[in-house]
């Protein structure tokens, strides 16, 4: 289920937020979407999810042209977890997760046993079984992020898009979330996550796409992308590359 993005262009107030983005997220892998603030990471995720309509470009998921799919059909294949999605009304975790079933709901119907089963397994997979009856507002940042992830999993997506999923999470919650994403890719879900933390990307991602002002500055493996000569012009910092003493993965320091 690889995602292919081809020549995507989206302009707001005469500024090209996405300026001809062409990239690939390999199937069943965790792809990191990197880039400084305003590089177009969130916009690209929203465009893939069908939330915004770019002027040009195509999206193909496993050889299916997404533009040709009805909205609901697209939402059954792709789930998006936004950066800060606050509920306007009090909801329990279980109720929030059920909302993820919206694209699968029959036009007029209530909840089906398929809904119940999908909600239960999403709750179990995201590890929020203990929290199912808690109100979203009472959860810690890490718990809330997992609840949102459970909501996305209830959509039963082939492609999961995450916008800064590790923001505001402590180290433990961060590792827990990455473990969960690892289990998802193991069962074939393609995951694309916009990330700010380059070292996190270095340790967890299989594939990286680096955006700079709406264009792809680099794409490839961790070793191909996380190099000082690639990162320095994009982030406008001095960058030093070390090697992790245990994993051998790249570690970056900045000055």
């Amino acid at each position: 289920m690889s995602l292919r993005v081809d020549g995507v262009r989206w302009t707001v107030a005469q500024r090209a937020v996405l300026d001809g983005v062409t990239a690939t997220a390999p199937g069943g892998r965790l792809t990191g979407l990197l880039g400084p603030n305003g590089a177009g990471k969130s916009s690209l995720l929203r465009a893939v999810a069908g939330v915004l309509a770019p002027e040009a470009g195509t999206f193909t998921l496993d050889a299916v042209d997404l533009a040709g799919l009805p909205r609901r059909e697209r939402a059954r294949r792709i789930a998006l977890v936004e950066q800060e999605a606050a509920a306007s009304v009090p909801l329990t975790v279980a109720e929030a997760v059920l909302i993820g079933r919206t694209p699968h709901a029959s036009r007029w119907g209530g909840h089906t046993t398929a809904d119940d089963a999908a909600v239960a397994s999403a709750i179990a997979e995201a590890g929020v079984g203990d929290l199912a009856q808690r109100s979203l507002g009472t959860l810690s940042g890490g718990e809330r992020q997992r609840a949102h992830l459970a909501r996305a999993l209830a959509q039963d997506p082939q492609l999961l898009l995450l916008d800064e999923p590790t923001n505001h999470l402590d180290v433990h919650a961060r590792i827990e979330l990455l473990d969960l994403l690892g289990r998802l890719t193991d069962r074939g879900v393609t995951v694309v996550a916009a990330l700010h933390d380059l070292n996190l990307a270095a340790s967890a991602c299989d594939h990286l796409i680096l955006l700079d002002r709406g264009r792809v500055a680099a794409e490839g493996t961790v070793d191909e992308v996380l190099r000082p000569e690639v990162l320095e012009p994009v982030y406008r910092v001095r960058c030093h590359l070390l090697s992790h003493p245990v994993t051998g993965r790249p570690v970056l320091t900045f000055s």
Binding site: V51, L80, S88, A94, E95, T102, D116, G129, D130, Q133
Partner: protein
Amino acid sequence: MTAPPPTGVRPADALGARPSDAVGRRRTGPWLAVATAALLVSVTLAVTVGPADLAPLDVWRSVADHVAALGGTSSGEPALGVLRDGIVWDLRLPRVLTAAAVGAGLAIAGAVMQGLTRNPLADPYLLGLSSGASLGAVAVLVLGVGVLLPVAAFVGAVLAMGAALGLAGSLGRITPARTVLAGLAVAQLCSAGTSFVIFWSATGDSYREILSWLMGSLAGARWPAVAISLGAVLVLGTGLALQGRTLDAFAFGDTAAAALGVDVQRTRWVMLTVVALLTGALVAVSGSIGFVGLILPHGVRLLVGSSHRRLLPLSALTGATFLVWADTAARTVFEPRELPVGIVTAFLGAPVFALLLWQRRSAAGDLA
């Protein structure tokens, strides 16, 4: 609201147990049964309240008589006698049923607006829809084309809603506070327009009539009013309740709803138009009654949560019961003088409005 403490359900248990238990679905069945029973009892009792000595059973006897008459098996003389039967069938029952239908419709309208605009303060009265509908209704009454009353009320509600949301949007990002301020401006303008039209056209004492449009009154409600309001609630309310899961999808905002496959703009405008249609039909028979759409949905959310498939039917039932009693109070407390029913609902609703503001004081950023 705090949920019950964690039950210690492990994922493995969750998968094995009945799924509805695992996902913690709150039970609505009992609430619906209680609310339906409460409404039936309230309607029956409310008809008996007032001058003329009537027992609850008399109400049903009269209903049975008239149903039999419709079926052509009438025995001729009403069981209650012509006078008391007339009080039940021609005066009180249609008024009480209209109150129930209007209360149900306003509660549904409020709940749907709150869901669609993600605004806890949204309500057909606060956002000016009711005042717009009143102005439309009064305008056609003055022109002498009363047949168009519900249509004109609908047009007034749509224009007022468009004006309020348009004004709120043009002030910047649409926030609850901006929407309420814009609604206030629209409501004041439409109320002034309504008052002026009545003042300008009325030959005698126009103040009673002005008051009944601005504060709401069910004094004139007969069977045609029941037909309009109940018909609108059954058709439009059911339609909205069936879209409950789509409404739920708006809980996390427009982007989340769109990512769940909802056509956000189209859904929002279609549903808001249905709300305006509903409001128009209700206001055409009752004038603008405030706060019903604010109090009941918030109360019901505390009981059964925010899922619209449960929220809308239960809000409708409790809203109906609420307005039945509010109107009963309005017509009996200062007997023989009548209080506009909107005064009763405002006395009860304004504190709830204040409470909602107070609860969200920490989230002032959301409101500003």
